[in-house]
Each structure stands twice: as C-alpha cells, then as structure tokens.
C-alpha cells in the first residue's frame, strides 16, 4: 500500500469485522515533535492476549477465507523502518486500540494520502458504524462525530446525492482548514 490512509481503511475494516459499532480514528501530525501518530479505537469483540501477541506475525489471522493476514505486519514494518512503532491494546469484549507512530520527516515515510476520500469512504460505505474522526496538525484539529449528522438525517440514506455532496464539502473544508 502506498498511502497511510489505505492502511487506515484496512485497520478500520478489521474493526468492522470485529463487530464494533463505534470506531474512532485519529490522525495527528505534530511537526514540533517530528511525529505522525495514527490511532484507531473500536468497541468490537477484542482479541485474546495470545492473538494480540501474534497479530503482527503475517501467518496469524482470524479470517477464514484465507490463512494469511498482512495488513498489520506491513504497517508495523513500515513504522519501524521510520524510527516508529506500532502497538495493539485489546481486551476481549471491550475492543481494540491500535496506535502507530512514524517519524514525520523520515525519508521512507509513506505519504498520508487522501484523508477526505478515506473518511468519506468509511462514513458512507459503512453507515451502521458510529464514526468519530479527529484530524490534527500541530495545534489545529478537525473533529467530527457522525452521531448528530445521522440524527439530523433521521433515516435518509447517506448515499442520496445531496447528502454525499454535503458530507464531502463538510469534510473537505474541515480538513483543508487544519492543513493550511
């Protein structure tokens, strides 16, 4: 994968499969500390300590279609190649918290990629999840919890064209403001 955002999509898909109904994603660029930190927190079914220990091994996966899972090992490897790390905290029945840190300025660090498209994909593609997004750059933050949006829409589909336009411009503007 060529963008960190694609890894975020991948991790979020794990959370959805784990049965989460609330997923928080935070992307934090802190240039003062030269750090890029991504966190994904879900309230899914969690993993046993044993699975957490083994999860970064490419030959361990909980999936049944295929025996090899590469998402987390690839991301961990990418982080460690950039003076960073990846940690997983998980508790059965409570959920999972993945944190990955990169040295922001590291020459091998993947670009973040297209954050608005990524968040839009998650929001519209998996409407059953309560999404919470935080995109930070230094002291600016775009924070978005979709609870109010969905309450306001009250059953109108997120894939109605006007709604797509609305959400897209809202996210685009919010993130542009943070990044400038």
């Amino acid at each position: 994968m060529r963008e960190l955002c694609l890894h975020i999509l991948d991790l979020a898909a794990n959370s959805v499969i784990a049965g989460a109904d609330r997923i928080s994603i935070s992307i934090d660029e802190n240039l003062k500390d030269d750090a890029l930190t991504i966190e994904i927190v879900d309230n899914g079914k969690g993993m046993s300590p044993e699975l957490v220990k083994n999860i970064t091994d490419p030959f361990v996966t909980s999936r049944t279609e295929r025996k090899v899972g590469l998402g987390i090992p690839l991301l961990k490897f990418a982080a460690e190649a950039c003076e960073g790390w990846l940690t997983i905290k998980s508790e059965i029945g409570k959920g999972t918290h993945v944190t990955v840190r990169f040295q922001h300025s590291h020459i091998d660090r993947m670009p973040l990629g297209n954050i608005p498209d990524t968040l839009l994909t998650l929001l519209i593609g998996t409407p059953q999840i309560n999404w919470v997004f935080s995109v930070k750059k230094n002291d600016k933050e775009f924070f978005f919890d979709d609870t109010e949006l969905k309450k306001e829409l009250d059953g109108i589909s997120l894939t109605e064209p006007e709604v797509i336009r609305f959400i897209r411009s809202f996210i685009d503007e919010g993130i542009r403001e943070v990044q400038n």
């Binding site: 994968m1 590469l70 064209p161 609305f166």
Partner: protein, 122 residues
C-alpha cells in the same frame, strides 16, 4: 461556526429528500457493494468507490444503497463490485477500475444492461 449553518443545510436536505421519497413509487433500491478488504484496498477499491459516489452525485441518482464489505474471496479479481438491481440476481464484477466503475454505473445501474465483459464467473 460552519457547523451550525451546516445543520440547517442538513434539515433542508432531509426535507427535500422526504418530499422526493413521497413522490416515488415503491420500486425498490439498487444495491452496490464494494469489496474493501486488504487486497481490495491495495488494488484501488477506494478510488473505485469514489468513482461510484461521484457518478451518483453528478447524475443525481436516487434510491441507491452503496456499501462496502470485507474480503469477498476472489483476490485476483480485486477491486470487486457487486450490483443488485431491485428484484434481480446479484452480479459480481472484477478488476473494476474507476473507469470501468463508471461504465457499470451507466450501463447496468442506470440502463439495466449487465456488462458481461467485466463479470467474474462465480
């Protein structure tokens, strides 16, 4: 704050959508499913999904449900897109680039013609 203005916009969008719904017949909804497991994402499924959303947006298609799913199990054909028209069988397309997604939207979703060139044989 833009958020408050936005909420008013949302109310308006909701009312308009409700009006349109009231006018429509009960013809059912078309479902479009995009496979977004690790392999699908790496193969470009996000761009494919975006092309579908853009098509819906630009052509004002209503009564469409778009959702993503995990690995469908045919990795070498990712990105995979499935289309289910109301009262029709599910059709599975493989190696759907954004350009092919546009063709599928135009031909299958809008006109109802299955795009046999891109079908994955189950």
């Amino acid at each position: 704050m833009p958020v408050i203005k936005s909420l008013d916009d949302l109310k308006r969008i909701r009312e308009e959508a409700l009006k349109k719904q009231a006018l429509k017949s009960t013809s059912g909804k078309t479902e479009i499913i995009v496979g977004m497991g690790t392999v699908g994402i790496a193969a470009g499924a996000r761009e494919t999904l975006k092309a579908i959303l853009d098509f819906v947006d630009h052509n004002n298609l209503e009564n469409i449900i778009i959702r993503q799913t995990g690995n469908i199990g045919i990795d070498s054909f990712e990105p995979v897109v499935q289309v289910i028209l109301p009262n029709a069988e599910k059709v599975t397309y493989g190696r759907v680039t954004p350009e092919i997604a546009k063709i599928i939207m135009e031909e299958h979703v809008v006109k109802g013609n299955v795009c046999t060139d891109y079908i994955v044989e189950g």
